[in-house]
């Protein structure tokens, strides 16, 4: 009676072993996240480590976020200008660029860029430490590896994501102005007044809520994959780390886009 042995939760075993694995991974990820958040303020030592992580995740990503923001804004300005001028409504260029950037593109593209730039590095770093048994060494030295490795990254993500999203927004609005107004000749005053007039506090607040949620999702998934790379079945050692990194990036991107849909329908 294997079912009996598991107590009252035997019904969870009914859909099969794969479902059970998904379930335990889901629960593990969530507990991992709670642990990381709880340890974020564990002592003054966390502050210096968080600053180092902000440098890596935030400061070093400014250039790439600025470039992505600039080109996204420029493409948006160009496409919307062509689409709107067909109806003689190119006055709404500012509205289109501002709303699509602040509500959707800035938080999502920032999160996806940071997954590629910082998330993959986090998985690889923690993964290599795991397979070279450095995490076990930390545990033996009575240093909580969650506190030492994961919590500062979580704090740094929560600081960096909204700031980079704000940079992305401002640069993208400028990029939209560059193509829409300077290159294609939309009315400059109308562009900026529409940008300002169409954005409410709820749009900007929603954009930042999204970026905070994405920060949590990306950081949790990437660190969890690296931290548990040794439990990956069939792949051990360096191959396991590479597999973990790949799956962390893919999972993060999918989860970010899915969460974006859910947040959009909840927020507006």
């Amino acid at each position: 009676m294997a079912e009996k042995a598991q107590g009252g939760v035997f019904f969870l075993a009914l859909p099969g072993r794969a479902f059970g694995r998904v379930l335990s991974e889901l629960g593990g990820t969530f507990l991992f996240f709670l642990q990381a958040v709880a340890l974020m303020f564990a002592g003054w030592g966390q502050f210096a480590k968080t600053v180092r992580q902000v440098y890596f995740i935030g400061v070093q990503s400014v250039t790439v976020i600025a470039l992505i923001g600039l080109f996204t804004g420029m493409v948006m300005g160009m496409q919307l200008y062509y689409a709107l001028s067909v109806f003689g409504a190119d006055g709404f260029l500012g509205t289109g660029v501002a709303l699509s950037m602040v509500r959707e593109l800035a938080p999502v593209l920032t999160a996806i860029m940071l997954t590629g730039r910082a998330g993959s590095a986090m998985t690889a770093e923690i993964g290599v430490m795991r397979i070279s048994e450095q995490i076990d060494a930390l545990t033996i030295m009575d240093i909580n590896p969650m506190r030492y490795l994961v919590a500062p990254k979580m704090a740094a993500c929560l600081i960096s994501f909204p700031i980079l999203t704000a940079f992305f927004n401002l640069i993208a609005l400028w990029g939209g102005w560059l193509t829409g107004v300077k290159l294609l000749g939309a009315n400059e005053g109308v562009y900026w007044s529409r940008v300002q007039g169409s954005l409410d506090w709820s749009d900007i607040e929603g954009g930042f809520i999204k970026s905070l949620v994405f920060a949590v999702l990306v950081c949790t998934i990437c660190c969890f994959e690296g931290y548990n790379t040794h439990t990956r079945s069939g792949h051990a050692g360096p191959e396991g780390v590479s597999q973990s990194t790949t799956s962390a990036v893919v999972k993060s991107c999918v989860v970010v886009l899915a969460a974006d849909y859910i947040l959009t329908s909840l927020l507006w």
Binding site: G58, A89, I163, L170, D200, W201, I204
Partner: protein, 148 residues
């Protein structure tokens, strides 16, 4: 030569980031930090179809305030609107306020035609003379059925 160390770079990043976030919130999000720049004026309309909260209030085409609240006054059978008007703008109680349409898409705004001889309106005062929104369908049907 001055070399930017990690801590300074992070400090700069967070500082500039906070400035960007504040700028976005206040300037682009139209958050009114200093609401005492405005005083409130009420007006009742028989029809305000399409008027939205935060729609501009204009005089001679210049923005002088915004629509704060829109509510229904069932006792009078009127739509009750509260406007916030810039303190620098003086209004008298013989002013006329109307619902107008801007552009092809039809954003509604309020236009105040100032009076001249009435008493000045204080904070919380009212404008009594109002013009309702023009209903285009209504006009067309009047024209089509020859009631003009």
């Amino acid at each position: 030569m001055f070399k930017l160390n990690k801590e300074t770079a992070v400090g700069l990043f967070v500082l500039v980031g906070l400035i960007a976030i504040t700028y976005m919130s206040i300037k682009l999000g139209n958050v009114q930090l200093f609401t005492d720049r405005y005083y409130s004026v009420h007006a009742n309309f028989s029809d305000i179809s399409g008027l939205k909260i935060n729609a501009p209030v204009q005089m001679y085409g210049v923005d002088i305030g915004y629509v704060k609240t829109i509510s229904l006054d069932q006792d009078k059978g009127m739509a009750s609107v509260t406007m916030m008007i810039d303190r620098q703008v003086r209004l008298t109680d013989d002013a006329i306020v109307g619902v107008k349409t801007s552009g092809l898409i039809g954003d509604k705004f309020l236009k105040i035609a100032p009076g001249g001889l009435g008493d000045p309106i204080e904070d919380g005062g009212s404008i009594f003379d109002t013009n309702p929104a023009i209903d285009l369908e209504d006009l067309i049907s009047k024209f089509a059925f020859g009631k003009v």
